[in-house]
Amino acid sequence: MAQISAPFSAWFARRGWTIHPHQQAMVDLADAPALLLIAPTGGGKTLAGFLPTLSELAGSGHKGLHTLYISPLKALAADIRRNLSTPISEIGLAIRVEDRTGDTSQTQKKRQRADPPDILLTTPESLALLLSYEDAPRMFAGLQRLVVDEIHALAESKRGDQLMLCLARLQSICPHMRRVGLSATVENPRAIAQFLAKHPDSCEILHADPGPDPDISMLETDDYPPWSGGGAKYSIPAVLEEVARHKTTLIFHNTRAQAEIFFHNLWQANTENLPIGIHHGSLDREQRQRVEAAMVRGELRAIVCTGSLDLGIDWGDVDLVIQIGAPKNVKRLVQRIGRANHRYNAPSKALLVPANRFEVVECVAALQAVKAHDLDGDPRGRGPRDVLCQHIMIAACSGPFDESALYREVVTAGNFADLTRAEFDDCLNFVATGGYALRAYDRWQRLQKRSDGLWQLRDPRLAQKVRMNIGTIQDTDTLKVRLKNRMGGQPLGEVEEAFAATLTPGDTFVIGGQVVRYENLREMTVEVSAAPGRKPKFAVFAGTKFATSTQLSARILRMLQQERWPDLPTHTTDWLSLQRDVSRLPQQDRILVESFPHDGRPHLCIYGFAGRNAMQTLGLLVTQRMEELQLHPLGFVATDYAVLIWGLDPVADASNLLQPGVLRDSFQTWLGGNAVMKRTFRASATIAGLIDRKSPQGKKSGRQTMFSSDILYDTLLKYDPEHLMLRITREEAMKGLVDFGRIEEMLDRTAGRIDHVKTDRVTPFAAPLLLEVSKVPINGMATERLLAEEAEALMAVAGLS
């Protein structure tokens, strides 16, 4: 058994620490080819990952790179470098630790390739870039250990898919490299282990003591939650009281827009001027860093935040986490709760705040799930092939390759283990020739097969371009927002281009917690002026909307079937009972459909409990079908639980609309022209190297030669509908925003059992949906008419008609 060496024990002792059992176990199992540690936040996970490295380096005269550490966050890499330097210098070890990210200087980067440190800390993208150089084998020669931090987060994204392909490459260069994964608590450690290990090798899994259960409850408020909406404004007085009562509070929100509005409202009520900051991904980087620094110095009592604080550096003395809005996903909730109290073996404290009446049910269900340690999560599925296309291109940059050898290497990545040779060949063909049915680029192929059978870049200068496009993180099209003044103005953050396009001068919206007035657009920057005290006209700039997980939805459905609800507040049980009397309560194995007139129009409400994205898709499909049946649908609104549709004609038989065959057929037709598909296409086409990542320069110059990727999508769909990029786009869209998988899941579990209840007025469950704001008008022609009307009005005003 490997022992942790004397200098380390002495150092631990000097600090008054004892080594955690899982840290010792990591040292004991240091020789395992693959090892996954599952530990809660604050469990000394990172040190556990590095202890074996430090021990090995302390004893031997290792030359070159010993351990490569990969983190999803640049900030984390820099933070860990600082944390590691403490034991290294205090113990007096001669170990060189460096980080390498997009922020590292060119000189430093060059030196690292020529003379790598003992420990290199980096990100998946920087690793991919390093592997694209011809000297990669020299740089990584002798690499012993590879540590992937926060692997649970990476495993959910294409960044992780790319990383695993890079690991396959690394393993070929360094056959003796051992893989270590560090993960927060997850529902299925085996899946992460398979993801980490070289396929088909096994992977050891270590579980750290999860610590005491969190102290989690619902926030008590004087006011009842409203019937709909997501602002949770009613909870502000109670939230402020909690902030005042604790040292530091993190207030999590599901969307940036909700965080902005809540922050705005919080400050309006913050009469004691408690120092409270805001942090989310759309804020200007400098602003975010200021908030982070203030937090580390302990100057803030609370931070209103989003998923941007789900991962990352230790926040010190957080002693309370408040989750505003239903958590949607139990696993994420548990990880967020872990942000409170990084002291090991002390329970984390968390409060849940439902934003509306339905969320009361969801919050209580989530609370029970946390207590039962019942985590959720959807299997990640096969490695996406757009990432593989990029990987093939990267391989070509690093030197000529043999296609069969590359295929054999790729399938050692767990997520690509079942990739067929034909699928691989499709990708290779795409990378080399464009993969079009019409062979047009014989002269300009990107890769050429040499006489010795190896593939190489036709033009070596291409490598430069490929390197500039490495990575899978999507740049959404965002525009910077600045305060307008002579000096250039303070940057506030970013908004989506599509949102900016709908603004007219004088419109007000919230960003960075302040209300601003839109002035104009100048050189791709949105210029605004401060408009304090004005009521924001728009609060919404789109952000990710999480869908309630399959498992949590199932738990809610089970809860609704209870005879009584002792865990729920009276205002909510009264509402559930009324729904049971007037109509029915939704069930796991049946679809409840309600019809009722409202405002002189027939309404139809379908309780599918398939999550927001899938319910939105269901709304689009059902209204399309209604259009065909000439039932004249006018619009619909979707939530995680239901979709409410209104139109001119009543629906006599809902089962007609919900037949699986019909839904699947309409799905195929509908999918082609959908905006979600175009967005997905752009992302996948960028990753696969069909189009270039937008460079900041290119964006600014606004040259008329640049054209939208939508044009490429439309053209492919018209002339080459079976092209690889379109197949990839369909696969990706099914998983993502379209989420047809959840509709399939709903159809499976309900198997055609439909209860169609007809009432003469709005039902208790449907009523909140009438109040939802994000309603979708039905067809494209309605938009054309709106635009035409607007144009006429403009012409009239200008006296031009």
Partner: protein
């Protein structure tokens, strides 16, 4: 036909929603900036292999407009080819298609900055063309009147209650018309850009292409 009719230099002209300009009296159809061979040039120069169907698509849309209008004269207002080498790369099918379109009508290629020279394809070749009262050239001349040009690929945004659409557009005022780019693989320059605002009078109108043409006062940058 799906178009927006307006009066210019005493003539009745129609901006077709496809992006072509129709002069009914003289049966002249004008299109600008076809940029044929764009994907080939991109592949040659940058290594990106875009879907190679844009020549086919552009010609198909031009074919439709010619058939629907029964044009006697077709004027291509310059940048018809993405560069002169792209002319050589045209497939045999594309060449035959162009020849077929040219049969039985007058066909005029105006020079553009991308294609500053004659091609082997039929039709006559001009720097600029005068068909009184109109003058056709690729890049607008700021002193000219009754002028029809292209080059800028103008686009404009129309907004209405929560909706917004940005599309290629015609621009016109008392002195000139600027055509949108007709080619499939073309982007656009916002009408708010300085280059366009300098050329167009304050009362200029933008006609957006798309399912149906939409006319709005030409959007300018806020000053």
């Amino acid at each position: 036909m799906n178009g927006y009719s307006f009066s210019f230099a005493g003539l009745a002209l129609t901006a077709l929603s496809s992006g072509a300009l129709w002069w009914h009296e003289e049966r002249v159809l004008t299109v600008s900036d076809l940029h044929l061979g764009k994907s080939d040039r991109v592949a040659r120069r940058s290594g990106s292999l875009l879907p190679p169907y844009e020549v086919q698509d552009t010609l198909q849309r031009l074919d439709n407009d010619i058939m629907q209008t029964g044009a006697a004269t077709v004027i291509c207002l310059g940048d018809s080819f993405d560069d002169l080498a792209a002319t050589d790369s045209l497939s045999e099918d594309a060449r035959l298609w162009i020849t077929r379109l040219q049969a039985g009508r007058r066909w005029i290629w105006i020079e553009g900055n991308h294609d500053p020279g004659p091609t082997e394809l039929g039709g006559s070749h001009h720097m600029a063309l005068s068909m009184p009262p109109l003058t056709f050239r690729h890049i607008a001349d700021s002193g000219a009147t009754a002028e029809v040009s292209g080059h800028y690929h103008p686009k404009a945004t129309v907004r209405g209650k929560g909706h917004a659409a940005t599309r290629g557009c015609f621009l016109y005022d008392n002195s000139r018309i600027i055509l949108p780019a007709f080619g499939t693989y073309t982007g656009g320059l916002a009408s708010t850009s300085e280059a366009i605002c300098r050329l167009m009078r304050p009362e200029a109108v933008a006609i957006l292409t798309g399912p149906a043409p939409i006319a709005i006062p030409m959007p300018r940058s806020a000053k």
